[in-house]
Symmetry: C2
Subunit: 198 residues, 2 copies
Amino acid sequence: MSNPTSHDNPSFQNILLATEELILEKGCRNTTLKDIIERTGLSKGAIYHYVASKDELFGLVFKSKIEHENEKFNQIVKHTMEGTPDAGPFEMVTQFFHSRQNLKDVGNIIFIYLLSQEDEKVKSILKSVYQYSKATSVQWIEIGQQHGVIPQNIDAEKMATLFMTFSYGLRVTQILSPSEGEQVATSDIFEFLSQTLS
Amino acid sequence: MSNPTSHDNPSFQNILLATEELILEKGCRNTTLKDIIERTGLSKGAIYHYVASKDELFGLVFKSKIEHENEKFNQIVKHTMEGTPDAGPFEMVTQFFHSRQNLKDVGNIIFIYLLSQEDEKVKSILKSVYQYSKATSVQWIEIGQQHGVIPQNIDAEKMATLFMTFSYGLRVTQILSPSEGEQVATSDIFEFLSQTLS
DNA sequence: CTTGACATACCGACGGTCGGTTTTTATTAT
DNA sequence: ATAATAAAAACCGACCGTCGGTATGTCAAG
């Protein structure tokens, strides 16, 4: 089991960084413990001192990425609200999906990988991230409503769920469809949502 | 490499069936070749006589499921069109997502699994299924437009892409969100789409 | 005697475990 | 303040079981 008190340990941070790099280079499935050992210069025992399993390690990399991304997005929303408080809903939606699309790099790769692990522990990580992301969405939708940017009659909870579904759908189509096709879907969703929001 | 001429072989059909059963019982990751060997009564060599890899086997199960599902859906669309030609777009959208939701069983499990395999061969299977499903969607949207059920000014291609994104998003949220939450999303999408379609 | 349908022994790689060693940190005695 | 020491954290690497996959067969049918 991983020790939560040692998560700020430089060696552990090194493991996290190396894992992220390797995933970007070779993908999750092709990133082995041997790879991580070679890159970090540590041993197998050292890695399993900080982490209970390979899946947990991947989960931790994913979590840190998501949290960082959400934090960044919250800053953007705040800034947009203060800078251009009369910015249309279109701007909001654009920001939302741009934020999500940034996850394409490491986050999306690990996300798909973790989703395929039929393990309750792993799934619970994803579920908690889902809940957190949704809650964040609800928050900024309500902020938007307070600023009069988003119509009052919209159910923030439902809208957030809708956004989550969209954003997950985009993650998949990003992988499956050619890049042009994917962009069509994104811009359509922009249009779609801003239409119903206005 | 698998031999296409022997795909109607009873032994091969047995392998396919056993694999499907096992995936339903234990999931993809936990279904090993040993499991398949035990259930079919065949040997490892026999399985690799029909199939090049475990991934290819899973891919073939997936493909057959999808094709069967699409065929069934096309029948439903046809029947709906002939039976109640003045049925609203709501009916169409409902049918579409109901059809997709039926894939939840084996199809969705394998889909997620295959998506996580960072392998070009596997990905090409999924891409071809994506293209086929999308093309099918375009077809019945156009049929709907010919019958005056769906507005003429809608771009069938774009709409199909949108539907695909939705349907993939639902597949993921089905896994991540509690069942009640998931249903909220589905009904919202119904409302959402039928609103813009009418 | 070729070919399709199997069987089986074997392989390397992988994730994970375990007992042990080194290094750091905290505690106490002088 | 410092040396001695106990405790805990960091780290190592040999070993294990299992897995997907391969190589080399056998054997019956045509």
